[in-house]
């Protein structure tokens, strides 16, 4: 006779315990960025580790955030806007017909929740390593690019919704950082300078028969 209430209590306890885990599938659309196109063709490599990336944390509350597919959409939009021509692939070639090869990696993801910081915000940090290679596959730069997003807490709003929103803000920030910062990275800036010198002298050399 006592079995039913005990079973019910156990079920409720299990439900309450699993309710503490937060799983977020980041899903969002990004606008077409307003950007001047650089006269470069690029090949962007979205390897499976990048396009299927899921952040998992078991410190404190169990949290998982799947950002893979959404960040592929983001970098597709920003690279299409920044470069005159962009192609995409899933594995890095030894060399390419394009001017540059871009290989984005996620180095680290961190999150913070109000119960940890005592602030009324949920925060998401994403640290990318944007590897840039030239046509021959020679490294040009390892650009460590950080992105940050936060969203305020709201009465009766779930942690999943708040983290989802914070992740979207972080991804938009990554896009902004990429578009504004690409030409300012010292190694890339130097490579662009060398390239423009080479391009401007090439016709003269041809004319001079060199």
């Amino acid at each position: 006779m006592m079995k039913t209430p005990i079973l019910l209590s156990t079920c409720i306890a299990v439900l309450l315990l699993t309710a503490c885990a937060t799983h977020v599938e980041v899903d969002g659309a990004f606008p077409k960025p307003l950007s001047k196109k650089m006269p470069l063709s690029s090949l962007v490599v979205f390897d499976p580790a990048f396009s299927n990336y899921v952040f998992q944390s078991s410190e404190g509350r169990e949290v998982s955030i799947a950002v893979g597919q959404t960040q592929v959409e983001l970098f597709t939009a920003v690279t299409n806007s920044l470069f005159s021509q962009t192609n995409f692939t899933t594995s890095q070639p030894g060399h390419s017909d394009t001017d540059i090869i871009l290989v984005p990696h996620i180095e680290e993801v961190q999150i913070s929740m109000p119960y940890q910081t005592k602030l009324n915000v949920y925060e998401v940090w994403i640290k990318y390593n944007m590897q840039v290679f030239d046509q021959q596959g020679q490294p040009v730069a390892d650009w460590i690019m950080s992105a940050y997003g936060k969203t305020p807490t709201r009465f009766l709003k779930s942690a999943s919704d708040a983290l989802h929103q914070a992740a979207i803000v972080a991804l938009r920030d990554a896009g902004a950082h990429f578009i504004i910062g690409f030409g300012r990275v010292p190694e890339i800036s130097e490579w662009l300078r060398q390239r423009s010198i080479k391009n401007s002298t090439a016709p003269q050399q041809e004319q001079a028969g060199l």
């Binding site: 209430p5 005990i6 019910l8 209590s9 409720i12 990004f30 606008p31 077409k32 960025p33 307003l34 950007s35 001047k36 602030l119 009324n120 915000v121 936060k150 969203t151 305020p152 709201r154 009465f155 803000v169 938009r172 920030d173 896009g175 902004a176 950082h177 578009i179 504004i180």
Partner: protein, 220 residues
């Protein structure tokens, strides 16, 4: 004969209802006593400041101000998400202009200036601030068991919403005015079996206060 409602309960309910009220203080500063001019097709955009490290101006508060401005006036208000998508990535927290000097440089950039002029955006209203819990007392405990569950206790908390709105005229590249609002309210939760929350609408009151005042800049 037993009274229909015990006087003590009535008194307690009255205290709670009074306590759940919100007090709002609004201050304003105007560059000129004349109302702000808008031609037929010109629009206004309301944006939240998101650069502070320890708080975030709530997006729904910005949406609420936009609605307040548009209600009962011919003002055309562009929503924050729509504007941010339109001009992405130039008004993200990392890139948004914090002053008119930077804004003028952005408008001088043909790519950005053209996009803003295409939408006839004449005024940009920046709102900075947030609503936070400033005091909390008491507690409510809930328990569940095989025989049922319930809550018991009394809790009270105070919220303060503090916001400042700054109006930029993108035509003259000048600041036309500021509105500051502070709203305070206490909320209560009484639980005898079932929890009964009596929530002070601090953010809504702050929105109404700042929205009405901003509207007066355009309607006179």
């Amino acid at each position: 004969m037993k009274p229909p409602c015990p006087p003590l309960l009535m008194l307690a309910s009255l205290c709670l209802l009074l306590g759940a009220c919100t007090t709002t203080t609004v201050d304003e500063y105007r560059e000129s006593s004349e109302r702000l001019q808008l031609s037929g097709s010109e629009t206004v955009v309301v944006l939240g400041r998101r650069h502070a490290a320890n708080y975030e101006t709530e997006p729904d508060f910005i949406g609420c101000i936009g609605k307040q401005l548009g209600q009962g006036t011919p003002l055309k208000v562009i929503g924050e998400p729509e504007f941010m998508d339109l001009i992405y990535p130039w008004f993200e927290p990392r890139t948004a202009p914090l002053g008119l000097k930077r804004m003028s440089r952005m408008l001088a950039e043909p790519m950005i200036g053209t996009r803003i002029r295409q939408r006839n955006i004449r005024y940009m209203i920046w709102v900075d601030g947030n609503t936070e819990t400033t005091d909390r007392e008491g507690s409510v405990s809930c328990a569940i068991g095989p025989g049922g569950g319930g809550c018991f206790g009394f809790a009270t908390w105070e919220k303060t919403g503090s916001y400042e709105a700054v109006i930029w005229d993108l035509g003259d590249l000048a600041e036309d005015g500021r509105v500051k609002v502070e709203a305070k309210g206490s909320s209560y939760m009484v639980a005898v079996g079932l929890p009964i929350p009596i929530i002070a609408q601090v953010q809504d009151q702050a929105c109404e206060g700042i929205g009405k005042q901003l509207k007066s800049f355009f309607t006179g």
